[in-house]
């Protein structure tokens, strides 16, 4: 409603004075807005991850005890991470599939680290609605593609963690990780 200031009976005698008044109002309003923003920021930022949460953002894992054909689940940033020790047959089946058959085409060699093809590390959260798929234990039901089967809505993943069937839209994502030695990985 500030536009009405000019014709409102403010009683200010000179046009110059009105200009000055508008300028002062603008400056005061802008100053108050900046001040309120500065006051609000600490409140809002306090909801962001705190230092102790950020400190959990990398985990190290000794992968030597994981037997071939099996996988384990570890927690990174509160999320399950699947670390799977693949058999030669599983690697082969992952590499033989044609990329055109895939929902989200991705080559198996791009989903593992060169020289460590036996190890697949994926974030173990179904990309459909966030359930944790089954399949780490050889006794689990792994679906038709030998990888993982989500118990919620039946999405199936292959031995490269790529979605092959079901409502999930994309492959299981890869966390950032690196091999610190032949038997140790660091996630995050």
């Amino acid at each position: 409603m500030s536009a009405s200031t000019h014709d409102a009976p403010m009683g200010a005698p000179h046009g110059e004075d009105i200009g000055k008044r508008d300028f002062l109002k603008l400056i005061a309003g802008a100053g108050a807005a900046v001040g309120l923003g500065a006051l609000a920021w600490p409140l809002i930022d306090s909801m962001n991850p705190s230092s102790d949460v950020l400190a959990l953002s990398s985990v190290e894992l000794d992968i030597a005890p994981i037997p071939e054909g099996s996988g384990i689940t570890i927690v990174w940033r509160g999320k399950p991470i699947f670390v799977r020790h693949r058999t030669a047959a599983e690697i082969k089946s992952a590499r033989d599939v044609k990329l055109t058959e895939l929902t989200e085409p991705a080559a198996d060699k791009d989903r593992v680290k060169a020289g460590h093809e036996a190890w697949l590390v994926v974030i173990g959260i179904c990309t459909h609605l966030g359930c944790v798929p089954l399949g780490n234990k050889p006794t689990d039901s792994r679906g038709d593609f030998g990888g993982w089967l989500c118990p919620c809505h039946g999405s199936q993943y292959d031995t490269s963690g790529r979605v092959r069937r079901g409502p999930a839209p994309i492959n299981l994502p890869l966390p950032p990780y690196a091999f610190t030695s032949d038997t140790k990985i660091k996630i995050g």
Binding site: M1, S4, T5, A8, P9, M10, G11, A12, W41, P42, L43, D45, S46, M47, N48, S50, S51, D52, V53
Partner: protein, 423 residues
């Protein structure tokens, strides 16, 4: 008769809303053109400051509660986590803790203003009583908030204050067990204190709303204590008093910031950085500074029930103050004797505060008793008699007359009318 409000706003959206829910008309009436005595001094800033302070406390409190854990095993550590790990957690906590002190500073000055200028007198008795209710709620909220960090002072403060109720004959012990939810201050106590500490500020907000409604019915008092006689005695609230309040808010925030950034623990106790230990009481248990005068009254009588009664009585006399003061003159400016005695009362309260901060030994016991006696003497004896004995100075004809007679300039723009220049 129900019916649509006839809105005068030209903006079509504002007009549409205002026709159905006249909040814009209400805000304009109560905060823009609201006729306010033109002679306020800076004492009249403190109501607005208290409002701002309440908002700061609620805002910081909500975000602190997101990171606090009300469990005896985790409360202390969760507060330390807020201080070290949560983004700006140290700022939120220091603003909240020092905000409590600032709140009492502001409210005590607000109350002094009412005492000095007689703002509690007719027709503002209920306004004053609602204010005393707010004070009581603030005290309860501050006390329970102080328990939450679960340090030594938290624990022993909670123990001492809840034990006050054990002074009640016959049912005292049962009441204390009920308050604790057990046989000592423990997890159940901490949980309910957290729940109530979150609830009460919103109750305070509700009573503040009533306080403001009552204020807008009677209108504000002013330093002369006489009623405005017409438009020449008032100014529209906006922009005159929004600006004057803004100046006060600036000064208030500077003081607040100095406290928070340079001396955040100045008003606290080191013992509260020691986790609560139900087996060891700290050497000197004292409440926060704003409770010290009441604490001194509590300790001034060598009787458990007597001390507790006097302490609650110190607040109770405030409820009936409008009827204890028999003088029809509001402002102390025109009450030559009251004007001096009000400062004796303030001195007595300050002495009580000092007494409350010292161990009850030697001279402090004597001083505490004298000051306690004077506190009640002032309200129960002096005020009723003074109204009849004191000879007041002549009151001015109106708020504007002394100014205009002294050759003050013409009225400022917009003073006489209350134009809608700020819709």
């Amino acid at each position: 008769m129900p019916g649509l409000h006839k809105s005068e706003f030209t903006n079509p959206v504002v007009n549409w809303i205002d026709t159905r829910l006249p909040v814009f008309t209400m805000l304009t009436k109560e905060y823009a053109v609201f006729p306010t005595p033109r002679n306020f001094n800076y004492f009249w800033n403190f109501g607005a400051l208290a409002m701002i302070n309440l908002m700061i406390m609620i805002a910081t409190g909500i975000f602190l509660a997101m990171n606090y854990t009300p469990n005896t095993l985790m409360a202390f550590d969760s507060v330390e986590r807020i201080m070290r790990d949560v983004n700006y957690g140290w700022l939120l906590r220091y603003v909240h803790a020092n905000g409590a002190s600032m709140f009492f500073v502001v409210v005590y000055i607000h109350m002094f203003r009412s005492l000095y200028y007689g703002s509690y007198k007719a027709p503002r008795e209920l306004l004053w009583m609602l204010g005393v209710v707010i004070l009581l709620l603030m005290m309860a909220t501050a006390f329970m908030g102080y328990v939450l960090p679960w340090g030594q002072m938290s624990y022993w403060g909670a123990t001492v204050i809840t034990n006050l109720f054990s002074a009640i004959p016959l049912v005292g012990d049962s009441i204390v067990t009920f308050l604790w939810g057990g046989f000592s201050v423990d997890n159940a106590t901490l949980n309910r204190f957290f729940s109530l500490h979150y609830l009460l500020p919103f109750v305070i907000t509700g009573v503040v709303f009533l306080h403001i409604v009552a204020l807008h019915i009677t209108g504000s008092n002013n330093p002369l204590g006489i009623d405005p006689k017409g438009p020449q005695d008032t100014l529209p609230f906006h922009p005159y008093y929004t600006i004057k309040d803004s100046v006060g808010i600036g000064v208030y925030l500077i003081v607040f910031a100095v406290l928070v950034f340079f001396a955040p623990n100045f008003l606290g106790h080191v013992d509260n950085y020691v986790p609560a230990n139900p087996l060891v009481t700290p050497a000197d248990v004292v409440p926060e500074w704003y409770f010290l005068p009441f604490y001194a009254i509590l300790r001034s009588v060598p009787s458990k029930l007597g001390g507790v009664t006097l302490m609650f009585g110190a607040i109770a006399v405030l409820f009936v103050l409008p009827w204890l003061d028999t003088s029809p003159i509001r402002s102390a400016r025109f009450r030559p004797i009251y004007r001096q005695l009000i400062f004796v009362l303030v001195a007595a309260i300050i002495v009580l505060g000092m007494v409350g901060g010292h161990p009850p030994q030697g001279i402090w016991v004597v001083l505490g008793r004298i000051a306690t006696a004077y506190y009640f003497l002032h309200f129960l004896v002096i005020l009723p008699l003074l109204g009849k004995l004191e000879r007041p100075l002549p009151l001015p004809e109106s708020i504007s007359s002394p100014v205009i007679r002294k050759g003050g300039g013409p009225l400022p723009y917009g003073a006489a009318a209350a134009p809608m220049e700020k819709n």
